[in-house]
């Protein structure tokens, strides 16, 4: 939630012209984007988002992310479309940063998702998986099981500063997942971070998906498990089975899960909870308390993980049978 880098009008106006977008009408730094600096740009040819890539995003990954957006948009997914400049490039440099200009998507993200939103996101996730199936580039998931170990190793000795017993909980879970994690489920491009703030709605109509900077290749059903964690728990950490059913049913209407995916779903849900638990715990311990961006409370994912640990069959998520 910050503008890390300022951009001057003298830099931006020629850039807009170079993209063939006419005259620069206005631009505002927007208080979104934990990782990057974003400006909402009005030009005479339309509305755009200018993203300046700051920390965490590896420049080597940008062709994958931007190529994926072009690929998905071409297949009808409503996502930001990178604009090419006169040289045919999607990447440029401004204010000393690598940057890209993408189309602006109207829509607001639901602060309090309802069941109708969960159904829409389930359908959109299936569309995304199918549309990405023939995307030729690949990117390994750096925040997969190996990655969770690596992140945990960097704060394991301090984990109990967050909550008593947290270090043991994570170590136990990692040992379990090392044994149980499924290795050969149907895979492809996944979003890997499809939280409510990355899904836009106009009224109750889903209008677009944003923030593909964690996208990678991994098991599709793991992406669905991330969404289940992100969309189907209430503020008091209770699991909302109605929302889960809406999410899973809408997803399966387009891409039914295989028997192996259904069987593995409780394990995937545990892994998805652990993935956000370890990165939030790390950020919690490593963010200056005066920082612009407040870290998320890891406890929300401790509670989700404990819920999934008690699940004994896919039926508890509403996945007993093929739809």
């Amino acid at each position: 939630m910050a503008v890390y880098t300022e951009v001057t009008d003298d830099e931006l106006a020629p850039l807009i012209a170079d993209y063939g977008l006419g005259e620069l009408l206005s631009y505002k730094g927007i208080a979104e984007g934990v990782e990057n600096t974003n400006f909402l740009v009005h030009a005479s040819e339309g509305t755009f988002i200018l993203t300046l890539y700051e920390r965490r995003v590896d420049p080597a990954d940008l062709p994958f992310f931007l190529g994926l957006l072009e690929h998905l948009a071409k297949r009808g997914i409503s996502c930001p479309l990178p604009v090419r400049n006169r040289a045919g490039e999607v990447l440029t440099t401004i204010a000393g940063r690598t940057a890209a200009l993408v189309t602006y998507l109207e829509g607001v993200w639901p602060r309090r998702p309802r069941t109708v939103h969960c159904g829409a996101v389930g359908r959109a996730l299936a569309e995304l998986h199918l549309a990405g199936a023939d995307f030729p580039m690949t990117r390994p998931n750096s925040l997969g099981l190996e990655g969770w170990h690596e992140v945990f190793d960097r704060f394991a000795t301090r984990a109990d500063e967050i909550a008593h017993g947290l270090g043991n909980l994570i170590a136990y879970e990692l040992a379990y997942l090392d044994r149980a994690w499924p290795r050969s489920l149907p895979s492809g491009v996944i979003h890997a971070d499809l939280f409510p703030d990355n899904v836009f709605f106009v009224g109750e109509r889903l209008s677009g998906l944003i923030d593909f900077y964690f996208a990678c290749n991994d098991a599709w059903a793991y992406d669905l498990a991330i969404c289940l964690n992100a969309w189907c728990f209430e503020a008091d950490f209770s699991f909302n089975a109605t929302k889960a059913r809406a999410l899973l049913t809408a997803y399966q209407a387009l891409r039914p899960l295989t028997a192996a995916e259904r069987e593995a779903f409780p394990i995937l849900a545990r892994g998805a909870a652990l993935r956000f638990l370890v990165t939030r715990a790390y950020d919690w311990l490593h963010t200056d308390r005066n920082a612009l961006v407040k870290p998320h409370d890891p406890n929300a994912y401790v509670r989700r993980l404990r819920f999934h640990q008690e699940v004994t069959s896919p039926g508890e998520y509403g996945l007993e049978h093929a739809p």
Copy 2:
């Protein structure tokens, strides 16, 4: 540069409907506004700024500020126009804050103003003064000579923490202005803060004026002296006489200064420099160094004040004769 208060979609969508602006399409917190929280709102009926009033702005002053914008817009000044809701009100409440919705002005503020910008702002300031002449409400200038004393009294003992001798400089200047300050110049509504970040351009065409939250009744020529300080000094603190001539000539083309105003101009320029010196010095000493909004360096106005102290006649600003 911050969003101090979050607004949810469930709060904003009905508000937009209540203003008769159709459907909420999107909204983004923008990283502008030191005092308030601002959202750029796209609705099906247009683009707007939603301002939530935070600290510093006295709610009792809001009818003056918003009434002034309506008055000026009606007279052809390009400024934000407050939108009235179905009840006919310009003020509403959202997220626990008093708030207003105003029309969005296209334009970018010039990070490095050139002479052409200074001429445009001179003309716009004269238009503003003339358009505001028959505005029926009044608001005293709380940051006039008395106000500078009050602000200085709150940090006088610590002034030299900023720069050796600063306390003496300000005390000397206040004593001088107490004797010399003109009391009966032509007066009316002034903007009082028309810095470059409050003046929008599309290309070289001035497209609008914003941020009227310091507007008040005071000497028109004092407002012009504020602009001279804000627009006609370079980054190295040198006075740019070409820019000053462009500003003053364009202003006087619409409203020629009286002999008394020309005579008083060097004193007004000193007062205008001191006004920003004392508030910046106060903020410098009272802003947490980790604050979201970085304070402006008071030294820029020490340098301006010292320049004006050396001026011996209005001719040095290019004001020797009636135009």
